[in-house]
């Protein structure tokens, strides 16, 4: 497999006011070349620190990181022109205009000047190029940050929580942009604590918690391996139906007047109930999603409180 990013046993500890906080604990992960790779984890799980280490902003205590096969940060200058990144919120000089900010960055890497017009056009900021960055809305700031990454025409784009604070239209724009970049063959590494957001665009994911890798692979494989397939059943006599299903070995939980049955075979449920003269009024397969997979994984690792926080954000993010 061709690899865009690889980390091996990456570890970072922050010292603050005499206390030590381990942000990343021996993280080993792989981001394949091309497509969108989701980098998932609750707030404080080490995503941003990992990204900062990949970009040479933060020095790891131990372990190694590679971008396009080059060790970083030592060999970062050799690949930096192929990497575009937005770390946390966009950060530019607030009193300078969008065009001035991009002009400085373009000058730093020797990008042709016409590229500034092109990326402003591409991010729908052409008519705001002479406006100060400080006056931009959050969505426009995010678009300017994307414009900055595009100055390089990078092969790897790193977006850290790219939809934070955006309105639904902005979220959709950014999501479509990531999908489009991935479809062009570029590698997009997107970190997020909003699982639903990543699930919609990512081909592969790495899930971390407390600075360590919990799972990694194609989204389908992660969902398939999570063992969370369920069927929601509506039936006239839920108590009786629950007894029948439990007797047949199905795990059953009550959800109001409905039953949630743990199985990936809905027909087995209808057969079991019909055999006892119970007929289903509603049968809805509950699709396994990344949130469920994440909750299952974090529960296994004893990260319950983190997982709850993420679940809360999922609801907030999906609303």
């Amino acid at each position: 497999m061709d690899v865009a990013v690889r980390t091996v046993n990456l570890r970072k500890t922050y010292l603050s006011r005499g206390s030590r906080r381990v942000a990343v604990t021996g993280l080993s992960m792989t981001v394949p070349l091309g497509g969108v790779h989701g980098f998932l984890g609750p707030n404080g799980s080490g995503k941003t620190t990992t990204i900062r280490m990949l970009l040479g902003l933060v020095r790891p205590d131990s372990g190694t990181a590679e971008v396009f096969g080059e060790r970083v940060p030592a060999r970062l200058p050799h690949v930096i022109d192929r990497v575009g990144a937005i770390v946390e919120s966009p950060k530019f000089f607030p009193r300078f205009t969008a065009r001035q900010n991009l002009g400085l960055l373009a000058g730093a890497i020797g990008t042709p000047r016409h590229r500034i017009d092109e990326v402003l056009e591409a991010t729908h900021l052409a008519d705001r190029g002479h406006d100060r960055y400080a006056g931009f809305s959050l969505g426009m700031k995010q678009r300017l940050a994307i414009a900055a990454t595009l100055l390089k025409d990078p092969d790897l784009l790193i977006f850290d929580e790219p939809t934070n604070g955006l309105d639904p239209a902005g979220i959709r724009e950014v999501r479509d942009t990531m999908r489009s970049l991935g479809a062009q063959g570029k590698t997009v590494l997107v970190s997020s604590h909003i699982l639903a957001e990543v699930e919609q665009v990512a081909d592969t994911v790495s899930i971390i918690g407390h600075g360590t890798l919990l799972a990694e692979g194609r989204v389908g494989d992660i969902l398939g391996g999570s063992g969370v397939a369920q069927v929601r059943v509506g039936v006239a006599s839920p108590d009786r139906a629950a007894q029948v299903l439990e007797a047949d070995g199905f795990p059953v939980t009550r959800d109001g007047g409905q039953l949630v049955v743990g199985t990936d075979d809905p027909s087995a449920v209808t057969r079991a109930l019909a055999g006892h003269g119970l007929y289903v009024a509603e049968l809805v397969p509950v699709r396994a999603d990344l949130e469920s997979a994440f909750l299952a994984l974090t529960a296994e690792e004893g990260l319950g409180s983190d997982a709850d926080r993420v679940a809360g954000h999922v609801q907030g993010g999906a609303a």
């Binding site: 900062r52 970009l55 040479g56 902003l57 933060v58 020095r59 940060p73 970062l76 200058p77 930096i80 022109d81 990497v83 575009g84 990144a85 770390v87 919120s89 966009p90 950060k91 530019f92 000089f93 607030p94 009193r95 300078f96 001035q100 002009g103 400085l104 960055l105 373009a106 000058g107 730093a108 890497i109 020797g110 990008t111 042709p112 590229r115 092109e118 056009e121 591409a122 991010t123 729908h124 678009r143 994307i146 900055a148 595009l150 100055l151 390089k152 025409d153 959709r172 724009e173 950014v174 479509d176 942009t177 999908r179 489009s180 970049l181």
Partner: protein, 348 residues
């Protein structure tokens, strides 16, 4: 239709891809940023206003009206001189008679009427005026450059733009070097601007206020060195202050923090400790005294000297060499610590 932030780009990649920037190119980018900053423009305006004010002051000092007033005073004192000498001699004679001591001397013979130069009545000379402005303004220019340097780097950390910058230019030593080079060039330009304006203003004053041929005023003593040398020292001082400010920016990462440290140093160390501790002997390590020694080629201070039997406050001299060596070491140390700190520490 779903909107993306990307438009299909049909350009060849070679047309789009960055082709790298030399160190000189990076310095150019930093200089552009320095010029675009509001504080830079404020500093330029402040320096122009300061030089304007000092030139105006020099014009007033040598204006025909003032010279006329001083001449009146001079003539009055010349007329008064014989009478005062007589009064002094009379007082001396009375004192000798009263005391019976014929050696009593009230110094009457040393009393001379003031000369034109004693009264400040000299021809307005461009070089002399420029030297005065340069010496008076050197410290202010240095402080402005220090503030510019500190803010130039500190604001980049405070806004978070340093992180963005490093994702484009990740070589930290190179980044620090180009920022320091840019502030050095900017500070030098500011100092050259100030000195040029001061010299032009001084020449204007010397021409405008040149008295008519009917009035013969003495020429002031010529400066003891070419004006260019003093100018170069002022430029070097301002460049050093700019570098020191930028180095503090790399170290402390916050403009307000740097200003706090500088003001704290000025009050606690320069204002209190240097004078109060060790009977003034610390003053040889005072930044202000060494700046004075560097710019004016010597500086003096009073400190207590003790022998086996007694202690006296005596005047000590700081040499020009002491001044420049001290300042050079201070700037180099600040730059080395700032750059090493920037190279090692994480950037948020």
């Amino acid at each position: 239709m779903s909107e993306t932030l990307l438009s299909p780009d049909s350009r060849p990649r070679a047309d789009v891809r960055p082709h790298g920037t030399s160190i000189a190119g990076l310095v150019g980018v930093e200089l552009r940023r320095l010029w675009w900053r509001r504080l830079t423009k404020v500093a330029v305006v402040a320096v122009v206003l300061f030089i304007g004010a000092t030139v105006y002051n020099a014009y007033n000092e040598s204006s025909p009206e003032r010279i006329a007033r001083q001449l009146d005073d001079y003539r009055a004192m010349q007329q008064e001189a014989p009478r005062m000498l007589e009064q002094c001699r009379a007082a001396q004679a009375q004192e000798r008679e009263t005391s019976g001591d014929s050696s009593v001397d009230l110094g009457c013979e040393q009393q001379q009427p003031p000369t034109l130069q004693d009264m400040g009545l000299v021809l307005p000379d461009a070089d002399t005026i420029t030297v005065g402005i340069a010496k008076a303004g050197a410290l202010l220019l240095a402080f402005v450059a220090l503030l510019l340097g500190a803010s130039f780097v500190g604001a980049e950390f405070a806004s978070g733009s340093m992180g963005t910058w490093l994702t484009f230019a990740p070589r930290r030593l190179r980044v620090a070097g180009t920022k320091l080079a840019a502030i050095a060039v900017g500070a030098a330009a500011l100092a050259v601007l100030a000195l040029t304006l001061a010299n032009l203003g001084a020449r204007m004053v010397s021409v405008v206020n040149r008295p008519g041929s009917d009035l013969q005023l003495p020429t002031p003593p010529a400066p003891d060195e070419p004006l260019t040398l003093l100018g170069l020292r002022v430029v070097a001082l301002v460049v050093g202050a700019g570098l020191g400010g930028a180095a503090l920016g790399l170290l402390l990462r916050h403009t307000a923090g740097i200003i706090g440290v500088v003001l704290g140093y000025a009050v606690v160390v320069e204002g209190f400790a240097m004078n109060s501790l060790l009977q003034g002997r610390l003053q040889q390590w005072s930044a202000l005294k060494n700046i004075q020694a560097f710019v004016e080629k010597r500086a003096t201070y009073y400190a207590e000297d003790c022998t086996a039997s007694r202690c006296d406050f005596r005047e000590h001299t700081l040499s020009y060499t002491h001044g420049w060596v001290f300042l050079l070491c201070a700037v180099l140390l600040a730059v080395a610590i700032g750059v090493l700190s920037f190279r090692r520490r994480d950037v948020s």
